[in-house]
């Protein structure tokens, strides 16, 4: 960082009068968003000129856009000029000094998930020196991947080490001007993950951000790009089940997946950002753009997500089925409790012939929570014999929560088969009593019933993740009944 100090000083000096203030030692830019902020970020990250141009283009377009209001969400106005768009990896002086300063409820949850103390500190943002014992694990892991020719690194590293790949694919799935939050991300993203699986390679292990994220704090505008070259296969896990705290309220990530001919990408997410307290205060806004491009024939992308966290979730992992015979899948469990809100679903855009898509969405709402499934199945003229099956089920706990379904179907080719099924049910006192009469405690019974409801989605998760997700669901909904 010290090498470009001079450049930054120039920049700072020059723009001071416009309110662009920064203390270089603090490594944090003052709140506010303008072209200088973006130039600062790009410079900090030692990016090539083309990337800065790309960011600026996104920013200029973003200025012409408005906050989306179509979602079934109640979002307080966000002041984009009040956000600081760059801060270096967290210094030890930030955040709580010890676990004593952390919300006891959060600690209780860690306890229940069986998270080791050191890790609890990391998750809660407590300053610790050696974060994980897993550094050595991560190293071995990297060696194995390198042998297979798999590239798995931070986005910044990829920009430096593999600029040709980044340049070729960045923004080709989610264009910089795609949508409000996507454009914002394109302008100011700080870091994220990059994966490239070479031709014919089956990635020897599941790739998990869990290993990568320890290295640095990726911040609130994360950018992920995964490319599966011809005949390759990768399974990618994002997030972790432990509740993550973050000082930043707004999170606007972009994830782009590219599957070339005969390639398969399986992308699994467990999202458990801090949802705020019981009154919904302080929770994270998670506004994510996730899209996959099944570019090659016979390619396949499968999204599986378990969304339990965040105060507001706005997220529609989608598939563009361009290649003939390509397959898109979306399996989702979304849980909203207390005052959480979620508007989530998927888009399946059928373009190629014989393309097929499956959507299984399970929504669970408890207490005052509101949740919507929003989905689009679009069959283009060119999509001969396209097939879609959609199933949306909602489970309500209590009588103050809500579930809403907004399925859109556009079929422009008469050879298409599109099926949609939807159910809404309430977790019954009868079901609970039945389990309790058999000796099963109420909380275990709730857990069992809810997990039964989500079974079709959980079976899509990698084994370890599935077990954790089940546990997590129980904890999220604890005390929600009765």
């Amino acid at each position: 960082m010290s090498t470009n100090t001079e450049n930054m000083e120039d920049l700072v000096g020059k723009d001071y009068e416009h309110g662009f203030v920064t203390d270089i030692d603090a490594d944090t830019v003052a709140p506010g968003l303008n072209e200088e902020t973006i130039a600062f970020i790009s410079k900090k990250k030692e990016e090539p000129e083309w990337l800065l141009e790309w960011r600026l283009k996104a920013y200029r377009h973003w200025l012409t856009m408005e906050d989306p209001t179509w979602a079934h969400l109640d979002i307080e106005h966000i002041d984009y000029q009040a956000i600081s768009y760059y801060s270096a990896p967290k210094s030890k002086d930030d955040g709580p000094k010890s676990l004593d300063e952390v919300d006891p409820k959060l600690l209780e949850t860690y306890e229940k998930l069986g998270i080791p103390l050191q890790e609890q500190k990391f998750l809660a943002g407590v300053a610790v020196d050696a974060v994980f014992d897993s550094v050595s694990v991560a190293t071995t892991f990297k060696g194995k991947l390198a042998d297979a020719g798999v590239i798995f690194c931070s986005f910044s590293e990829a920009v430096k080490e593999h600029p040709e790949l980044v340049k070729k694919y960045l923004g080709t799935v989610v264009p910089a001007a795609d949508n409000f939050f996507g454009a914002l991300n394109s302008a100011v993203f700080t870091d994220g993950s990059f994966v490239y699986i070479p031709k014919g390679v089956r990635c020897p292990m599941e790739l998990s951000t869990y290993f990568r994220i320890n290295a640095s704090n990726t911040g609130q505008f994360e950018r992920t790009l995964i490319i599966a070259d011809e005949k390759s296969h990768v399974s990618y896990l994002e997030g972790c089940t432990a509740p993550m705290r973050d000082e930043n309220q707004l999170h606007a990530a972009v994830v782009e997946l590219v599957a070339l001919e005969d390639a398969e990408i399986k992308y699994s997410t467990v999202q458990n950002w801090y949802p705020g307290d019981e009154n919904g205060v302080g929770g994270i806004y998670n506004f994510v753009t996730k899209r996959a491009d099944c570019r090659g024939n016979n390619s396949k992308v499968s999204w599986t997500q378990v969304e339990t966290g965040s105060a507001i979730t706005w997220k529609y992992p989608s598939c563009i089925l361009k290649g003939d015979n390509s397959v898109g899948e979306f399996y989702s469990v979304a849980v909203t409790n207390n005052h959480q809100q979620a508007d989530t679903g998927t888009k399946m855009i059928h373009i190629g012939k014989n393309t097929s898509s499956t959507i299984i969405s399970k929504g669970i709402s408890a207490r005052h929570a509101q949740q919507s499934y929003r989905g689009l199945v679009k069959i283009s003229k060119s999509a001969e014999n396209a097939r879609n099956y959609t199933q949306c089920d909602s489970l309500l706990m209590g009588d103050k929560c809500g579930a809403h379904t907004f399925p859109y179907i556009e079929a422009k080719n008469s050879s298409a088969t599109v099926e949609h099924e939807a159910t809404t049910s309430k977790i019954g006192d009868d079901q609970l009593f039945y389990c309790m009469q058999r000796g099963i405690k109420e909380e275990d019974a709730v857990n069992m019933i809810v997990n039964g409801f989500c079974k079709e989605v959980f079976k899509e998760l990698p084994m370890e993740f599935a077990v954790e997700a089940q546990k997590l669901l129980g904890i999220t909904l604890e005390g929600a009944v009765g």
Partner: protein, 249 residues
């Protein structure tokens, strides 16, 4: 084993049980009969601890403990089992999985080690024969898509695995054809022993052709108005309930 004294219970503002007395000793089978609306199912539900029933007066003593103070699952741990009149469906929850969780919850309470999958399968294999339980029902979701008879059989199967001390069968015979009734009855009979008490709640006498009770009680308007031996059931079958009501009035 079980001693109910002057039990009053209501649902909302409506009093259903109005001073019920009943004493059940270990090893006995008691049949509670009565017309619709007499309070039979309410009694079964109050004993199992279901929500929505208000006990306003009276006591229920079970093995020297105040049963009414226990949560439903605590009653189950202590050996109280209710075979439901309408067994509920729980989509996505494997029938065997629920039963294993139930068995292990009870074992945990008793301080016994939990059974692993292999031990558990060994246990249920035996029991399946008793109620002629079809194997495919085990791995289906709890009661989902079961026929009426299969549901009731599943209840008796659970009972045989859980081996309760006090089993309450709430209208287990309703909706069963004669073959299913026989199978269910055989299951219940095989579970009779000197320590286990069974309360059969039923509307019809026909169940008692297959399960011979030691005592028969007639419940009417929230009270037991007549008790007797197995002959009482036959008498009821012949004459209906009205004559007892008149006698009691």
């Amino acid at each position: 084993m079980l001693k109910i004294e002057n039990l009053h219970a209501k649902i909302g503002n409506k009093e259903i049980l109005k001073g019920l007395n009943l004493s059940v000793n270990a090893g006995e089978v008691h049949a509670i009969m009565g017309p619709n609306g007499s309070g039979k199912s309410t009694l079964a539900n109050v004993l199992a601890g279901r929500n929505g029933y208000d006990v306003t007066k009276g006591t229920v003593e079970y093995e020297g403990k105040n049963l009414l103070e226990l949560a439903p699952e605590e009653r189950a741990w202590a050996g109280v089992f209710l075979a439901f009149q309408y067994p509920v469906e729980i989509p996505g929850v494997n029938n065997v999985y629920l039963l294993k969780a139930a068995v292990n919850a009870v074992r945990k309470y008793r301080g016994e080690p939990e059974l692993d999958a292999v031990e558990f399968l060994g246990l249920i294999k035996e029991k399946m024969k008793i109620v002629k339980m079809k194997e495919d029902l085990l791995n289906r979701s709890v009661n989902e898509g079961f026929s009426g008879g299969e549901k009731k059989r599943n209840e008796i199967f659970q009972m045989s695995v859980l081996e309760p001390k006090l089993a309450i069968l709430d209208e287990t015979d309703s909706g069963l054809d004669i073959d299913a009734l026989k199978i269910v009855s055989e299951g219940v009979n095989s579970l009779r022993n000197e320590e286990r008490s069974i309360i059969l709640v039923t509307h019809y006498q026909r169940l008692l052709d297959y399960i011979k009770p030691d005592h028969v009680h007639v419940l009417s308007n929230g009270k037991i108005i007549k008790s007797g031996g197995p002959d009482l059931a036959l008498e009821l079958e012949e004459k209906g309930y009205d004559w007892i009501k008149e006698e009691a009035a």
